[in-house]
Symmetry: C2
Subunit: 203 residues, 2 copies
C-alpha cells in the first residue's frame, strides 16, 4: 500500500467500511473485511483508528454529514410540470426519493442498520438523533421551497411537517426493502403526499 497521511487513511477506511456495510451488513464489517476492502494491512487500521468502534462512530458521522437533499426544487418543477400544485410537488419529491432508494437499496439498508446500531447503546444514541435531525433539516429546506414555488403556506411549523415526512419516508423504505413492491410503494407515496399537502393552505 502506498504511503498516505493518517487523515487520508481514515477516509479511505471509512469509504471501504461503508462499502462493506452496504454489501454485507454491519455485522460482517470486521476490521479485516474493511482493511481487505481498502487494500491495507491490519496495522494500518489501528494506526488510523483507536478501535473499530471509533471507526463505526465516525462512519455514522460521515454519512450523516454527507447526506444531501435528494431533490433540488428545480428538478421537481421539471418533473411535476410548471403549474403543479403543492400536493403534486410533494409527491414528485417523494417519488424522487423512491427512485433513489430503488437505485441503491443497499445504501438505505446500511443507513438503517447504522441507526439501529446507534440506538443500542446510550452513548451512541445521540448519533442516531443527529442522523434524523439531519434528515429533517434537508426535508425542511425542500418543504419551504415547495411552499414558495406554489405560493402555499404551511399551517403548522414546517419542522413538524418535515418530521412527519421523515417518518413516512422511513416506513416507505423498510416496507419496500422487505417486499420490493413498487406499486405498493407508489400508493404509500401518494397517501403520504396527500396527508402532507393538507397541512398547508393553498394560495
Amino acid at each position: 500500500m502506498a504511503r498516505m497521511s493518517a487523515a487520508d487513511r481514515r477516509s479511505a477506511l471509512i469509504e471501504a467500511a461503508l462499502r462493506v456495510v452496504s454489501r454485507e451488513g454491519l455485522a460482517q464489517a470486521t476490521t479485516r473485511a474493511i482493511v481487505g476492502e481498502a487494500g491495507m494491512s491490519l496495522a494500518s487500521f489501528h494506526y488510523a483508528f483507536e478501535s473499530r468502534d471509533e471507526l463505526v462512530d465516525e462512519l455514522i458521522g460521515t454519512v450523516v454529514a454527507r447526506e444531501r437533499k435528494a431533490v433540488a426544487p428545480e428538478e421537481l418543477i421539471a418533473a411535476a410540470g410548471e403549474g403543479a400544485s403543492l400536493a403534486e410537488l410533494v409527491e414528485a419529491g417523494l417519488l424522487r426519493y423512491f427512485e433513489h432508494l430503488r437505485a441503491d437499496p443497499e445504501h438505505e439498508q446500511a443507513m438503517l442498520e447504522l441507526t439501529q446500531y446507534a440506538l443500542r447503546s446510550p452513548e451512541r444514541h445521540p448519533l442516531a438523533v443527529a442522523q434524523y435531525e439531519r434528515y429533517a433539516e434537508l426535508v425542511v429546506e425542500a418543504l419551504e421551497a415547495a411552499a414558495e414555488l406554489t405560493g402555499a403556506r404551511w399551517r403548522l411549523p414546517v419542522e413538524h411537517v418535515a418530521r412527519v415526512l421523515v417518518a413516512f419516508t422511513d416506513g416507505l423504505t423498510i416496507t419496500w426493502l422487505v417486499d420490493r413492491d413498487d406499486a405498493a410503494a407508489a400508493r404509500v407515496v401518494a397517501a403520504a403526499a396527500d396527508a402532507l399537502s393538507r397541512m398547508a393552505d393553498p394560495r
Copy 2:
C-alpha cells in the same frame, strides 16, 4: 436444570433468546447469553437446536406467528366513542399501537432487528416477507372491522390500504425510537389516519 422435553426446551430457549435480543440486541444474543438467560448449559442448546441460526430462524417464525391484533374493534369503539367516524377509529387504532410501542419499545426494536437480519441473506428474506404479510393480515382485519362499524367502504382493496398503514406504522416506530418525541408521533398518527380514512367512502 430440571429435565424437560426437547420441545419445551426449544420454546424456553426461544423465549430466553427473545428477552436477550430485546434487552441487548441480536448481535449480543450469543449461544452463551441465551443459555445463561434460560439457566441451561450450553450442551442443552445444541441438544434442542442444530445451530444458533436455526434458533434465530425459529425465533422469527415464533414472534411472527404470535403477533396478535394490537387492537380489538370493541376497544376502539370504547376509545373513540359510539358515533366515531372512520378517521377517528383509524386514529384510535394507531394511537393504541403507539401506546403498545411506548410500553415495550425494546420489543419493537427487536422486531426491527430481526427483520433486518432476515433481509441480509437471500434464504432468510422470505422470513421478513412473512413477517410483513402477517402484519398486513392483522391490519386488514382491523380495517374491515372499522369499515363495518362505521358503515364506510374502502375505495381500494383493503389489502392495499393495509399495506400503506403498515408502512406508516413502521415509520412511526423508527422515528419515535430515535427521538422519543411523543408529540411528533401524535402528529404522524393524525396525518396517517387522515390519509387512510380518505381511502374510503363514508356512508
